[in-house]
Symmetry: C2
Subunit: 381 residues, 2 copies
Amino acid sequence: MQDKSYLMIPGPTPVPPRVMAAMSRPVGGHRTPEFAALLERVEERLKTLFATKNPVFILTNSGTGALETAVANTVSPGDRVLALVTGNFGERFANIARAYGAEVTELDSAWGEPVDLARVERTLAEDKFKVVLATHNETSTGVANDMAGVGRLVAGTGALLLVDGVSSIGGMEVRVDEWGIDILCTASQKAFMLPPGLAMVSVSDKAQAVVEQNRSPRFYFSLAAHKKALSNWNTAYTPAVSLFYGLEASLDMIFAEGPANVYRRHILLGRAARAAVRAMGLETLAGEEWASPTVTAIRAPEGIAADDLRGELKKRWGVVLAGGQGILKGKIWRMAHMGFADRMDVLTGIAALEMALAGRGWPLTLGRGLAAAEKVFLEVD
Amino acid sequence: MQDKSYLMIPGPTPVPPRVMAAMSRPVGGHRTPEFAALLERVEERLKTLFATKNPVFILTNSGTGALETAVANTVSPGDRVLALVTGNFGERFANIARAYGAEVTELDSAWGEPVDLARVERTLAEDKFKVVLATHNETSTGVANDMAGVGRLVAGTGALLLVDGVSSIGGMEVRVDEWGIDILCTASQKAFMLPPGLAMVSVSDKAQAVVEQNRSPRFYFSLAAHKKALSNWNTAYTPAVSLFYGLEASLDMIFAEGPANVYRRHILLGRAARAAVRAMGLETLAGEEWASPTVTAIRAPEGIAADDLRGELKKRWGVVLAGGQGILKGKIWRMAHMGFADRMDVLTGIAALEMALAGRGWPLTLGRGLAAAEKVFLEVD
């Protein structure tokens, strides 16, 4: 049926009607007391969500722009950077550092595996780095990295820890100050339940000192400009005002549910999705211990053309999953349960997969994947 | 989760985003060439959907107002009216006729049973009636009556056939002219995928002749006033203009999918819902042969408090079903699959019921109801 579509890619994610309604407000000016007041209200709640005393800058660009902001303000040509790469987005973060002339040491995990903390510890002991890049939730593989663990290792070294939290924060707990994250980057179109276009970046005092000395060119991405503007409850350049209206509505929803409940919900959805995947005789890419609560990567079985089946899911069942990226292209399906997602969404995604696989002769019993997810839901509360 | 709710009552039904967007247009005046042009476009497509050459009047009131319009314009005090009652809404139609002083003969079917055509034939042979009232799709019991059959019987008698098509048209095929329906009443908040507030009424030439002679008082419900206005592409009184914008968007959707496909979709959803109900060890109120394609009434098993479970469905699973009305209060659940509904909606409703029943010790195997629905979906196309 036209117009009934179930978007389950790991961003953009579905936008709740009340966020859409907030964004439908007439566009207002951004150099106004009203906008300043909105900024102040939003800022306070972002700090709570980031668990930080640091300022959180709200930028009008995508998540990649946020990662570049982190790098452009802290990395100068020739700087030593350690990049912890667990997938496509870790790779991108490293490439941004390379684009700024950094000398990058890359610690790669096999895709589907998390950051190996022992290896990180050894590498940090052997060498001195100015900056460490890490990905909290690796969207391309469905892996959640232990960012508290990474933070503990980096803490003693004097390096700055820059973290890609694009597909984590808002859906998974992040404790910026406790974990020692100097710059945390996220974006609007994931667990924040907004359309793409905004990015949020928190910056520690330690990072701020480096920012001021840094020699890389930047203007739109200048944290100094953002800092100066925010101190006047303003933005450096024209902000996407409608998205700011939406951001306030989405924060209303997150705080009405309660951040702890939001995180629990995502953990539950991830567990149910993985239980269903196993009950269908399939495997997740990530092990249960480090599997992401916001996105599940599922290995396509031998003999099933993954991207072709994905096309069928969309066309026949209205369910939109993501495929694999980079070396995983054509080998996995990625199902997000991120942001405005609940238990029925997981059941919908699993039902579509069950029906499509059954139609292609994969030996499964209809309803078994769904029952496994239902069991997980019934165990709770 | 707040804000994620699955509305499955038989009206109001969920409104598609594109209909919502159409209704967000700035409100315009109704005595304008633009509104006249909209009315002309909408009228043409309503006639196609009703399968009629008769004018279709669009009224700013609910479905009950449409039923009253039909009665007030054709029934005078003392008139003989035959009411075919198969549930709560048939009862209401009869009561409206009584309110207008009619002498009503009521032919009641047991709730859950359809109109008994043989009995109708006998009654029509024994007595002379000015008007026959019938319900196409009885929302309170999930029964679809054979309106072509009723039409054939009434045709020879000189009586007018007034039909409540509130929960049928737009989701089930209705052929006003072929079936000999003199006045067909429907409303916006069912298969038309709109919020409540509009009603549509088609009136045959035969009925129009009676309208002109009728002695009952009416002003807002005057079909003569509506007829005069429509002949100038206008409405008699102030129309709910936003709902008209939405109506055009909803007709766009219905005609883009194709009415025949829309009817097939509803038949499929009904079949899947009933297969799932049986697989859970439950019974539908209506037999398979006369079960409604737009709403399924499910008997609550002995020992399960129906309305209490319905509360749990809403609170714990976000799924909103309707309960029983009149003599069925507390005895059934009604799940609509009407309008902006697809296969995943049926699975969502069944999953919630499955989980809630399992939690109350009803002996079912999780996933079996869902699998039965999936099987129905896989058999098609």
